[in-house]
Each structure stands twice: as structure tokens, then as C-alpha cells.
Symmetry: C2
């Protein structure tokens, strides 16, 4: 089936959102924890967190200013700190429920039944039920003129992970932590590893290891 640029523009908005959100492939599922200047907490599921660089350790995230998650964006820009918490197979439905349009004064932690966890020196709550999570200091916030979304870049300040998940060479076995993948807007997936492949070289074939 061949779809042109014009075909995409002609789609009904909700249909197009579903369709185009499926195109990048599997996405990460994370909960973003924030607090406002008075310490009121907020929690939002996002599928737009991505790796930006290892040295320094930088994490990117795309935020939509007019979406349900606008409180999250305001808190991040005001306080300058936030947490990223992997969604796992024990909390995926509660995580999804954070995307409901709750009134500003309602904390999604309370509304969906997740537990804020505080780390000394970090002004944003972690999710106690998440098994891999880290706090970020905001170092760049930039509007993409093409469509008005905001690219947030944060540097990792503190990280919590279950030690058993750290495998050979520093790889973290996020499948063993039950971490979830997302496709489109609303489909959640557990994973089954095909294997880790050796570093590719021109005259050898990749092999499964580990």
C-alpha cells in the first residue's frame, strides 16, 4: 500500500495521530515525575523520552505545550528538575491512567495509586514502584518552530536501579525489570529478547552472546 504526503494530510486528525504515531517504531514508556514550587506533585506518562548521549549522560524528551501534560512542562521549566521512571508490567495500566485530564490540584500519584518517593536534594518525586529511575537537571529547553513542540534536554543527577539487572559490560537488562514498550498511542508490549549481538566488523558475522 502506497501512501503519499498528501494522503497523510487528508486524514482525519485522530486517525492521522494514530497512524503517524506508529511510524517511528517501538517507543519507551516512562512516567515523568515533577513538583511545582510548593511541592505539589504531578505524574505523566510519556513515550517521547530518548537517548541523546552517554558522555555527558544526556536524555531528551519531547513535550507538547497544549497537551494534558502541560503541568509537567510548566513544573520542569519552573523548578528545573524532573524524574524519569520506567513503566513496568506491574504498573502499566496505572501509568496509562495518568494521561486522564485531572484537575490541576489533583496529584496523579493519588488518583491512580502510585507512590511518590523522595531523594534528598532532588525537588521532583520518583515513582516507588518503578525499578529503574533517575532524576534530571534541565539544561536546555527549546521550542521546535516547525510544530511548536518543546525539546527538553536533561542531565542525569541520581539514578536508582536494581543491581541484579546490570549485566556484562554495563548493559542494563531492562527486559528483566519488566520494562514496557509502546506502539502508536495506546498499545503496550512486553518483550522477548532475540539476543545481544557482538560488535559488527566487516569480515565477520554477528553472533549472539551473553
Amino acid at each position: 500500500m502506497h501512501v503519499t504526503h498528501q494522503d497523510l494530510l487528508n486524514l482525519e486528525d485522530r486517525y492521522r495521530a494514530n497512524f503517524v504515531n506508529s511510524l517511528s517504531g517501538f517507543k519507551s514508556a516512562n512516567l515523568v515525575g515533577t513538583a511545582d514550587d510548593e511541592g505539589n506533585t504531578n505524574l505523566a506518562i510519556v513515550s517521547s523520552v530518548f537517548h541523546l548521549g552517554a558522555n555527558p549522560p544526556l536524555i531528551g524528551m519531547i513535550s507538547r505545550p497544549h497537551s494534558v501534560a502541560r503541568d509537567t512542562l510548566e513544573n520542569i521549566q519552573s523548578v528545573g528538575e524532573y524524574t524519569i521512571n520506567h513503566v513496568n508490567n506491574g504498573i502499566w495500566k496505572r501509568a496509562h491512567q495518568t494521561s486522564a485530564r485531572y484537575p490541576r490540584e489533583v496529584s496523579e500519584f493519588d488518583a491512580v495509586g502510585l507512590t511518590p518517593q523522595w531523594q534528598e536534594g532532588v525537588r521532583a518525586p520518583f515513582v516507588a514502584e518503578s525499578r529503574l529511575k533517575y532524576s534530571l537537571a534541565l539544561i536546555s529547553s527549546q521550542t521546535i518552530d516547525l510544530n511548536g513542540v518543546v525539546l527538553l534536554i536533561g542531565e542525569i543527577t541520581h539514578l536508582h536501579v536494581e543491581r541484579e539487572a546490570i549485566a556484562e559490560g554495563g548493559y542494563i537488562d531492562i527486559e528483566s525489570l519488566g520494562s514496557i514498550a509502546v506502539s502508536g498511542l495506546d498499545n503496550y508490549h512486553v518483550t522477548d529478547s532475540l539476543g545481544r549481538l557482538t560488535y559488527a566488523k566487516p569480515h565477520t558475522k554477528p553472533e549472539i552472546f551473553g
Copy 2:
């Protein structure tokens, strides 16, 4: 286990790369097809493609100028077009092998055994073996000063997908296409859907549908 910012900086480079690349969660697995001004093809696996917006349909990608994939970046910036092709469970090892450091004059298509497929009007090759693929016109290329990586933004021009994969409301069932997820630098995963969840509202619980 608690890891601080300083702990991360103290890690050996390769260990840190493995570790930090695991933190964002599952990543998309795509092959980027390009050609130079003379039509010589190039193919590179990337895990840094992400959804940027549905209207207009925009796809983001992070590229490292000094990496193995530097030919890809040069071709994109020179020609202004590229293709994104989902890696599936039939081609994942060949896809990984494109990350080997082949000489510039070798096409990774030939080297790993994948087939270039041309669409009239597009100056970049698709991967015939991929079951969901699209071409992009480059509309923005921007260096992130913090670490020198390049953020490429493209608009979708042509798309090819198997019609059977398009489900209710425009969602594309990428799991049915065998699309792969990546974790860390080298682990590949097939997926098993837990279900699609209904649009979240404050006073209802999400339910599985579809």
C-alpha cells in the same frame, strides 16, 4: 543501588555507553537508506528515530557526526532525502551488520545482503525486505551544542506499508509486521502486546480493546 552523576562520569567509556544507552527504555530499530549525489547507496541501522509530530507528519533522528554512520549524515545533508525502514525479525542480524565499518565505496546493501528498492521521485533507496518504510525530505538539521550530535527533522513524502497491518482508528499493528525493539547498544527484542487501552478519563478505569 544508588548511582550519582559523578559515578556515571567515573565509568570507563564503553561501560558508560552501554549503561546510559539502556536508560531511556526500549528504542526503535530502523535502517536509514541514503545515496550520495552520484547515486551510490548507503545503509545504516539506527536506534535514534523518534516521533516528533503528526500534523505535519514529522520524524526526528539523532545522528553522531564522527560515528560509523557519518556517510549517512553526509548523504542526508547533501541530497536532502532519506528513507526509514523498520527492522523486522527476518532481517535483524543483517541490519545489525550494517554497523560494521565498511570502506566508503562499499554499499552496506551488498555487504549484508539486503535489496535496494527505488521509488520514482525519491533520491534514496528503500529496503525491499522491510514491511513498513517511508521517505523523508530533510527540513531541519541542527547541532546540539551540548555534545555535538545532530538533530535531523524530516517530513514524510512517501510511505509503504502492508495493508493488513492497519487496524482500528488508523493504528498500525507494527508487532504483526515483526518490527523489532532495541535496548542498550546491542540487544534486540520481539514484542508481545499486553493490549491497547481506551482513552483515559478521570472517573473511569482504562480497559483493553481491539
